[in-house]
C-alpha cells in the first residue's frame, strides 16, 4: 500500500458538506492532516473495510471524525488495541445544536471515553466545555483563498438583465436557514431576478411555497463542487440570513468571489467585519422579511456598492484567515 506522512487522518460521511469542507480546507491550509469522505454508510461494505486496513497500515497518531455517524463505531471497534487515538470535530454552534436537535449526540460524545480529543469549530462552545472536560480544543475553520492579486474578481462585469440571487443550503440545514423569510422577501421584489437553489424545491413543502409565491427560481439540485463553483461565479447576491450557524462556508465562498451576501448576526464568518459591511449586509431581525427585502433592493440597485463591499470583505477575510490558520496549526501540533 502507498504511504502518507500524515499523522492526523480525518473522516466525515458525505451528508455533512460544511464539515467536509472544513476538514478538506484544514488539510490544504495546514498540511498536517489528510481528509477522507465516506460515501457509504454500509458498516460491512468494502469502503469501510478498506479504511480500517489503511489505518492499520499507515498508523496515524490520531483519527478525527467529522460530525457524527454510526459508521464511525465500526472504526472504533475494529481499531481497538491499535495505538491510534481518536478525536471528534464538532462544527455546530450551541444554538445550532438545539435547533437541529443534536443534543443527544453531543451529550454522548463529550462523555465518550474512547474519544481522547474533542475539537470544536465554535470558539464559545470549546471555551465553555474546556472548563469542565479534558482535551477540549477550539479548532477554527480555515479557508483556501486565492493569492492576493492573483486573479481579479469579475463580479458585476457581466452584461445581463436578470439579477441572480442564491439561497444555498443542504436539507439538514433547512430548520436554521430562515428559508421562509427569505422566500417571502424575494417574492416581494420588484426587479427581474432568478433565485438559484441547490435542492430546496425537491422538498414538497418548500416547492409549494415557491410556486404559491410565484418565485422565479432555478434549482440545480445537488451539485459537484466543480459545478457549484461555476454556478457561484454567476451569482450577484447571496442570502444566508440564518437563525444559527457555526462558520458558514457558503458565505465564505461568496466572499472569496467578491459577491456580497446578506446574513444575520448569527453568521460567524461575518463577525469582526467593518461597520459599513455590517450596516449594509447584516439583518438586525432575521424574522422580519421586510428588512431582508429592503437590504436586497438597496444592494441590487447599487452595483458600485456591491463591488465595494465585495472587495472590502475579501480583504478583511484574508487577514482573519491568516490568524485562523495559525491557531489551527497550534492546536494540531498540540494534539499530535
Amino acid at each position: 500500500m502507498g504511504k502518507y506522512d500524515n499523522r492526523i487522518i480525518t473522516f466525515c460521511v458525505r451528508g455533512f458538506p460544511g464539515t467536509n469542507r472544513s476538514l478538506m480546507n484544514l488539510e490544504k491550509t495546514t498540511g498536517l492532516s489528510k481528509h477522507f469522505i465516506l460515501t457509504s454508510l454500509n458498516q460491512y461494505g468494502p469502503e469501510i473495510k478498506f479504511f480500517i486496513n489503511y489505518i492499520k497500515t499507515v498508523k496515524p497518531k490520531l483519527v478525527v471524525f467529522g460530525a457524527w455517524s454510526a459508521i464511525y463505531e465500526v472504526l472504533f471497534k475494529k481499531l481497538k488495541g491499535e495505538k491510534t487515538q481518536f478525536g471528534i470535530y464538532w462544527t455546530s454552534s450551541p444554538g445550532q445544536v438545539d435547533i437541529s436537535e443534536e443534543i443527544d449526540i453531543l451529550s454522548f460524545l463529550i462523555k465518550d471515553p474512547r474519544i481522547q480529543h474533542k475539537l470544536f469549530a465554535n470558539r464559545e462552545l470549546a471555551l465553555s466545555l474546556s472548563r469542565h472536560i479534558k482535551n477540549v480544543h477550539y479548532l477554527p475553520d480555515t479557508l483556501i483563498l486565492p493569492l492576493s492579486g492573483s486573479k481579479k474578481s469579475n463580479y458585476g462585469s457581466r452584461q445581463k438583465g436578470v439579477v441572480i440571487i442564491s439561497l444555498f443550503c443542504s436539507p439538514f440545514e433547512y430548520k436554521r436557514k430562515n428559508i421562509l423569510n427569505c422566500l417571502l422577501a424575494v417574492s416581494m421584489l420588484d426587479i427581474n431576478y432568478v433565485l438559484y437553489l441547490n435542492g430546496l424545491s425537491k422538498n414538497i413543502h418548500y416547492k409549494n411555497v415557491l410556486e404559491s409565491l410565484n418565485i422565479r427560481y432555478k434549482d440545480f439540485g445537488w451539485m459537484s463542487y466543480e459545478k457549484y463553483q461555476n454556478i457561484l461565479d454567476k451569482v450577484d447576491l447571496g442570502l444566508q440570513v440564518s437563525f444559527a450557524e457555526t462558520f458558514n462556508h457558503v458565505v465564505a465562498e461568496h466572499i472569496i468571489r467578491g459577491i456580497p451576501v446578506i446574513t444575520s448576526r448569527m453568521v460567524p464568518v461575518m463577525q469582526n467585519k467593518s461597520k459599513q459591511i455590517k450596516d449594509k449586509l447584516i439583518v438586525d431581525n432575521p424574522d422580519n422579511y421586510l428588512e431582508i427585502k429592503g437590504k436586497i433592493e438597496h444592494l441590487i440597485r447599487n452595483l458600485h456598492l456591491r463591488r465595494k463591499l465585495g472587495t472590502m470583505m475579501l480583504n478583511q477575510i484574508r487577514k482573519e484567515n491568516d490568524n485562523r490558520i495559525k491557531s489551527a496549526i497550534d492546536v494540531m501540533y498540540k494534539i499530535m
Partner: protein, 104 residues
C-alpha cells in the same frame, strides 16, 4: 486556396508495460478493486472488465497480452478488447494511478 493540415496519429505501443504508482493505495475487497490517490478524498472503485485489466497490469503484462486475455475472458473480439484496454489504461495513466514501466 487549400489548407493542408498535418495530423499526427499517436503511436500505440502494444508491448508497453505499466506499473502502479507507488503513491497509490489499493486493495481487492469483496470482488472490487479499491484505489486511493494521495490528493483525493474519495476511493475509486474498479470492477467488471476494469478489475480484470487492473489485475493484469499488476501482473506486469503488456497491453497486447492484456487485450488478448480480455477478449478470451469476456468473449469479445480482440479489436474491441484492445480499444477497451487502451481507454482504461489511458484513464488510469491520466490520473497518475499507473505509470509506464521503464524498459530494461
Amino acid at each position: 486556396m487549400s489548407i493542408v493540415k498535418r495530423c499526427t496519429i499517436p503511436k500505440i505501443d502494444f508491448d508497453q508495460l505499466y506499473v502502479v504508482n507507488e503513491e497509490i493505495s489499493y486493495r481487492e475487497i469483496e470482488g472490487q478493486i479499491l484505489l486511493l490517490r494521495p490528493d483525493d478524498h474519495f476511493l475509486y472503485t474498479v470492477n467488471g472488465s476494469g478489475k480484470f485489466i487492473w489485475l493484469e497490469i499488476v501482473k506486469r503484462k503488456p497491453i497486447s497480452t492484456i487485450a488478448k486475455n480480455l477478449a478470451k475472458k469476456f468473449n469479445v473480439s480482440e479489436e474491441k478488447a484492445a480499444k477497451d484496454v487502451l481507454k482504461f489504461v489511458s484513464e488510469l495513466e491520466k490520473k497518475e494511478i499507473i505509470v509506464k514501466a521503464k524498459r530494461r
